[in-house]
């Protein structure tokens, strides 16, 4: 009997130890929307430079949004790193983020920060197409150069992309089309696109890239930096192209979570992300830095090489729920 | 010697399973004297094991009380009752040696090691297990296992020893020798014991008194001779030994203890302990097979026809056809008697002193 109580006591103590959050001393809790391997590069650099320990969880931007919202009454993390700003905008409109103006050694371009500074863009990228070279030559077609091209019967059942409701990349694509063509026209187009051309929807935005690389599908739609980093630079036989009507772009978001456990450390992290040193790290992944002093990776497509539409990320973020429901209703997935 | 050492008072046990309820024990009352060996005897399903388990504490009486040495033990859990049980399948702990099995109870009661060793040695000598202490139960014969089980229970020096058909898993020869041993042991130690069996031979040879049970009720309590020669009802008469039942009528009552019976026309004088016999009443006469003598046919006697005869060496068993019943007759020592053949007519002589009368209509159980 005595032994049992001792065991129970020990167990209870251990439980308390596990369940309570870590002490404040120099540990930053962070939610991460970059892929694990990429995130490790940035985070380890930050840790090395500042000596701050980072405890981070990797999720897709949709999942981070979900998590932050679920934890609103008791946030477990202090900073949200990466993920297209659409999700950050959504979170901001739900009052989940705290305003913070990062200290930078350059002037931030106007599209980059939110009006109320609840999030700040720290990298950019444009949406493009990735095509498998062998597939193209077998079918005797060239890489698509317009959205209409995607309906080409040669591409039938050979396009992969993510669900707009699980991936920021896919949602940005959807919102871009809506802003270009209008809601009804977009859904009309998409219905055809879905029935004819789409082979499969993936959960994550970059899932279509290795699929195109391996030849499992002929085409994918993703962000240019991902296409370069995960497709071309991995050695897959793929080629990148852009729609001439215009394409959307994303701004990668960085935000301070309201009520997070260590706001000061989070601010330090945010500031660090804009430093030349941090922004230079983007070269490895072909992301476009926002710090003009940083070096751009060779081969990376800069925003002036592509036709961009005047993409209103804020409108996209605010209307996300409604647009998603319309998409699901029409497409039925 | 206390008379009311173990007292069962109006014990009832009803098992309610789903839609049907089974009355396993129906108003059983019994008083066991200290040092006595009482056997609960009956066919399977008669409630004897359930009664035993209620004494042990493994079943709760639906109603009724159990007293041991003056104390009411209904609410005492089985591990605190001063009773131990020898289980039918011995229930030896397979992962312990013989010694570990035997000393188990003492260890639970925190008896000091030295005392344990001494008592284990003593009890092993008592039951005859010397030298087998280190064996595992799986390495023992049936008889040896049984003795370990006995030793394990006896070493606790319980106030009452309970035995649940301990011999049923042994072969016939072993059974005979073991039951004598058990009886001797019990007498020597003087331990009050309740024994359960369905084997009437066992009950008759072992017990100080026998309690015959049927369908949850006690049919009769008595010493073996009492049960045998004066069965209380037809069931007891039939269950113990073999019995023939002949219908008869009371012709006259000659004295308080004697009646003149009319059995199929023949007149007989039989002693009886029934005071309520009225003239003209219908009765049933219990005739044991050994209480009948067969003779060559004589006029004016009860006669019958031999239907079957079975030669058993020490006796011959005849089946004799009467007017409306068959009589089983055992004739001992065939060489000293006339042998009869099938279809032969014979005279039947009933030995009056060994007959027993039961009232004609009575519910069994």
């Amino acid at each position: 009997m005595k032994r049992l109580f001792l065991v129970l006591l020990l167990a209870a103590v251990a439980a308390a130890g596990f369940a309570t959050p870590q002490s404040e001393a120099r540990v930053l809790h962070l939610y991460e929307a970059f892929d694990t391997e990429e995130a490790q590069v940035y985070i380890e650099a930050f840790e090395a430079e500042t000596g701050i320990d980072v405890e981070w969880v990797r999720m897709s931007s949709g999942e981070v949004l979900a998590r932050v919202e679920a934890e609103a009454s008791n946030p477990q993390s202090s900073v949200w790193h990466a993920g297209s700003n659409t999700s950050h905008i959504n979170a901001s409109s739900k009052g989940l983020l705290a305003p913070y103006r990062p200290k930078t050694d350059f002037q931030l371009q106007p599209q980059l920060p939110a009006d109320d500074w609840t999030w700040t863009g720290f990298y950019t990228g444009a949406i493009g197409f990735i095509s498998n070279k062998d597939f193209l030559s077998k079918k005797g077609v060239k890489a698509p150069t317009s959205w209409k091209d995607l309906l080409n019967p040669a591409f039938a059942k050979n396009v992969a992309m993510a669900y707009p409701y699980t991936s920021g990349t896919a949602y940005t694509t959807y919102a871009t089309l809506v802003q270009m063509l209008g809601e009804k026209e977009t859904l009309d187009w998409w219905e055809k696109f879905d029935r004819q051309s789409v082979f499969q929807y993936t959960k994550s935005g970059t899932g279509c890239i290795p699929m195109a690389g391996l030849g499992e599908v002929g085409l994918g739609i993703a962000f240019s930096h991902d296409i370069v980093a995960k497709g071309i630079n991995q050695g897959y036989p793929v080629v990148m192209s852009f729609p001439e009507e215009g394409t959307g772009f994303e701004v990668g978001g960085l935000s301070l979570i309201k009520g997070g456990p260590e706001p000061e450390l989070a601010k330090q992290f945010i500031d660090w992300c804009f430093t030349v040193k941090a922004q230079n790290l983007f070269q490895q992944y072909s992301r476009l830095p926002v710090n003009p002093k940083a070096t751009v990776a060779p081969g990376a497509v800069t925003l002036d090489q592509v036709k961009l539409i005047d993409y209103d990320a804020i409108w996209a973020g605010n209307n996300k729920d409604r647009l998603i429901e319309a998409w699901r209703d029409r497409i039925g997935k | 010697m206390k008379e009311d050492y173990l007292v069962l008072k109006n014990l009832v046990k009803i098992f309610s399973g789903g839609k049907e309820s089974v009355i396993a024990v129906d108003d059983v009352s019994l008083q066991v004297r200290e040092g006595e060996l009482v056997t609960l005897l009956g066919p399977s399903g008669c409630g004897k094991t359930t009664t035993l388990r209620m004494i042990a504490g493994f079943e709760f009486p639906t109603s009724g009380e159990i007293f041991l040495d003056g104390e009411r033990i209904n609410d005492v859990p089985p591990n605190r009752r001063p009773t131990t049980m020898v289980f039918q399948n011995y229930a030896l702990f397979p992962h312990m040696t013989v010694v570990q099995n035997i000393e188990y109870g003492l260890k639970i009661h925190r008896v000091p090691g030295k005392a344990i060793r001494e008592r284990v040695e003593e009890v092993m000598r008592l039951v005859g297990l010397k030298g087998l202490g280190g064996r595992s139960p799986t390495q023992l014969s049936g008889g040896q296992q049984q003795r370990v089980s006995l030793a394990r229970s006896l070493i606790m020096e319980p106030k009452v020893l309970l035995l649940d058909e301990p011999l049923s898993n042994l072969d016939a020869k072993l059974r005979e020798s073991t039951r004598i041993e058990i009886r001797k042991l019990q007498r020597r130690v003087g331990i009050t014991s309740v024994y359960v069996t369905h084997d009437q031979e066992e009950a008759m040879t072992l017990s100080d008194r026998v309690v015959i049970m049927h369908a949850g009720r006690i049919q009769q309590i008595g010493t073996p001779p009492e049960i045998y020669s004066h069965p209380a009802n037809r069931f007891v008469a039939d269950f113990i030994g073999k019995a023939n039942f002949l219908e008869a009528r009371v012709a006259a009552i000659s004295s308080p203890n004697t009646a003149e019976l009319d059995i199929h026309g023949t007149k007989l004088r039989v002693s009886t302990d029934y005071q309520e016999l009225a003239e003209g009443a219908k009765v049933v006469v219990v005739v044991r097979p050994e209480s009948v003598a067969l003779e060559t046919k004589k006029p004016g006697t009860l006669t019958g026809v031999i239907r079957e005869s079975v030669y058993l060496g020490s006796e011959i068993v005849y089946e004799v056809q009467l007017k409306d019943s068959i009589l089983t007759v055992e004739v001992p020592n065939p060489r000293e008697h006339t042998l009869f053949t099938n279809d032969q007519e014979v005279s039947i002589r009933l030995k009056e002193k060994s007959l027993h009368i039961l009232p004609a209509e009575e519910p069994v159980g």
Binding site: L4, A16, F18, A19, T36, E37, Q40, E55, V57, M59, S60, G62, E63, L65, A66, E71, S73, N74, Q76, Y165, T166, Q200, T202, K203, S204, T206, G207, I209, P210, M211, G213, G215, E216, G235, P237, I331, G332 | I14, S16, S21, F58, F60, T62, S63, P78, N79, R80, T84, M85, F87, N89, A91, F93, P94, Y104, I108, H109, T138, Q145, M156
Partner: protein, 569 residues
Amino acid sequence: MNKSARRTSEVLANMRIIWKEPFLLVAILAIFYFLLLFVAFPIFQVFRYSLVVDKKFDLSNYLAVFSARYYYQPFLNSIILGAITGTTGTIMGFVFAYALTRTPLPFKGFFRQTVTFPIISPPFVVALAAILLFGRAGSLTPFLQKILGEYSIYGLGGLVFVETVAYGPTAFLVLYGVLQAIDPALEEASMDLGASRAKVFSTVTLPLAVPGIASAWLLVFIQSMADFGNPMIISGNFRVLSVQAFLQITGMYDLSRGATLAVLLFIPTTVAYFLQKYWVSRKSYVTVTGKPTAATIKRLEWYIKLPVYFLCILFTAMVFLLYGTIVYGSFQKLWGVDATLTFNNYIQMFRVGKDYIIDSLTLSSLATPITGLLGMFIAFLVIRKRFIGRGAMEFISMLTFAVPGTVVGIGYILAFNQRSVLFPFILTGTAWIIVLLLIFRNMPVGIRSGIAALQQIDPAIEEASTDLGADSATTFRKVTLPMIAPAFFSGLVFGFVKAMTAISAVIFVVSGKWNLITVAILGFVDSSRYAPAAAMSLLLIVIVLIAMGIIQLVVNRIGRGVRTTSIVG
């Protein structure tokens, strides 16, 4: 005394006994509390979130789900998939069981090992292998396309194939036991009376096996519906409920719709579970726990042997092919593009995935012994003791086995992401939520093997211990536990395997600090990094095999001289 009065007095008498043993009372109360908190409460939360919108009781979620095709289609799909897989799995299991019990098939031991192998491997490894072989860039695809034309491994067909391989073995185990336990004398008597082989089969063997067949079908149906890993990988456009519920919660943050989908998943599987447990298995003509009898009818016609042997060999070949591909794939540089063999994947895996491996091992090792002991103890209480609520305890503790992992996982986040009256800690993000999930999810395994073991023990042995003065705790410790040790360790093995290969529930509760190998594998597959996925899958299988080997050694050492049955008879 009338019936209800009698019942009450019996119950009170039982309670009085329990009262006298404080340890027992505390233990029973504690277990009820844990079951309430970690089994009933999460499931309750799932229902609650589906029925309560804005703090009001509201059926709008259900209305939405039944009216929108993108919600109810997955539900129908899952049921169709379950039904088809149930059938194919049962057929396959039956053929194998028949082959091993009624035919002179050589190398029976080998076939037996092969067919039960998928049970110990993480189930979704089969889907991974299928993609490696038959996917759009699969190694066998060009060859197969010549024969079959255009086909896609993604979708219903691929899922049926993969799930039959993964879950057919469960059907096999059930049917093997059933066929073994049918007294061969019955079939011999039938032949003796003039029946042909076919007649014997159709009039004796099959009818006696019917309850077992129904059982097997239901079990495979349940596993298929609850399957998460395989559909995540290979379902393509054939959307299934388990994945949709997951996407709804993690992709859309829609707790109430997600919970509604979880309820939809819960209902058919739980109904099937109870059908199986309380109706079908009661109708068994055959006691599976009885002594198995070897019935090999030696002379079988070729037209029976051939198809049976063929199917067995085909399945075995498939198993080897699939798992062999995993091994092969794990050594490739870039699957589908560069087939040069390299150890790089393993090096990468240990570098990047080291934490996953350590976490998985730590959490599983922590959960498994607790699962085993708790399971054994509950089995002991349920079988040997009588107390109020005993039936409820048994029912609730088996519940997490019936309920699909997705539902349980969602339930756990809904239950423990805030403080509640029942439990003042927030567990999301901690190790404990994972450990608790593993414990209570796999506890039914421990309980079932405990119950099976206890049923083999003559209760008289434990009564003897009580009779000699031991209380329940001492009896359990000194007598029961040692006798059920072999069953206990088998339960440990199974529990460990299940913990290491868990995915559908735990994927909801992993966090940055604590992550699991299975989640990592899915992540790799998600980004089409098939070679590292294969490497990690192989590692997982190897770990499981090693653990099983170790425990087997321990069992052999302890099991020597210990029988679980009574000595007599």
